[in-house]
């Protein structure tokens, strides 16, 4: 967990975006490790494959199109820092009401979870309870998730153009060259 904090601070301080993206990959992988320690194996491998892998690839892809350097900040970040620290203090104040870490009597564990743990192997016949809850009890949720991913895919295609504009830079694109002079005049 402490390693996560160090990585996050490094991400805030760095200006080279390539290093930032690489660090965010490391960050996701560390998170996956923490998930394994916290017994969430399914979540861990999703995080490692999807978040650490696919996200980092997407970010690298867009970095090649947008450039690697971040401009130095022009204004002092006092207002955002104040807002952030205030929010953080409120959240920390909230933890004083939370149950202890790993407490088996916490309210989270007393609602529907015992039913899933006791009955799902018999009802669904899959030994992995995460899978049976995901695919069966909360199947509609998962359907909604696929709809979201599909919509995002359509959105990306609509934004970038279906003809594979990604590979070309903005200057080679006939559409953009046509648009650009008018943008400058306005």
């Amino acid at each position: 967990m402490t390693f996560l904090v160090a990585t996050a601070i490094a991400i805030v301080r760095m200006r080279c975006l390539f290093a930032v993206v690489m660090l965010s990959g490391i960050y996701s992988l560390t998170t996956a490790g923490v998930f394994i320690i916290l017994d969430a194996v399914d979540v861990a491998f999703t995080e490692a494959a999807v978040a650490a892998g696919v996200s980092t690839m997407l970010m690298l892809g867009s970095l090649t199109l947008t450039g690697h350097r971040q401009a130095p900040a022009r204004i002092a970040p006092i207002l955002p820092l104040t807002v952030v620290i205030l929010t953080g203090v409120v959240l920390l104040w909230g933890t004083s009401d939370m149950p202890r870490f790993g407490d088996p009597e916490a309210p989270v564990h007393r609602h529907v979870a015992p039913r899933y743990i006791q009955d799902s192997p018999g009802e669904i016949g899959v030994p992995n309870m995460v899978t049976s809850v995901l695919a069966s009890y909360r199947g509609f949720d998962t359907l909604g998730e696929t709809v979201v991913v599909f919509t995002a895919g359509i959105g990306v295609l609509a934004l970038l153009g279906i003809g594979g504009r990604r590979g070309r830079s903005a200057k080679d694109d006939p559409d953009d060259v046509a648009k650009r002079p008018t943008d400058d005049h306005e």
Binding site: E47, L91, F101
Partner: protein, 117 residues
């Protein structure tokens, strides 16, 4: 010794605020999206920390008696990770499009250009 019991939550909230700070204070759009990712995974950590049971094991059926961690947060977070990647992809596509239209991904330069127009 109560603070030990809440240590995970403290780290989670620190990470959450780090991500929030990056989103609010940094001008570069790609970096904002990295900040959004940090924020997201801190929320995931919060949920998974809640699902952990002391001496529990992963919620995969074992022979005989066993204490399992809560499978429900795991399911929710599985969904959330995939949705998070979809958001990241959409955000990055927007950034690329902004770069094509404005020639920059720095927020203040984009503002200047809007003011000039």
């Amino acid at each position: 010794m109560d603070w030990i019991g809440q240590y995970n939550y403290y780290v989670v909230f620190f990470l959450m605020m780090t991500g929030f700070y990056v989103v609010v204070a940094q001008g570069n759009l790609v970096k904002k999206i990295v900040g959004l990712n940090i924020f997201q995974s801190s929320v995931f950590l919060l949920y998974i920390s809640m699902g952990k049971v002391q001496d529990g094991t992963a919620p995969i059926l074992l022979d005989g008696e066993a204490v399992y961690s809560n499978p429900l947060p795991h399911v929710l977070i599985l969904t959330a990770i995939v949705v998070g990647v979809a958001t990241t992809a959409l955000g990055l596509a927007l950034v690329v499009r902004i770069k094509e239209a404005y020639g920059t991904v720095e927020e203040d330069e984009i503002r200047e250009r809007d003011d000039d127009a």
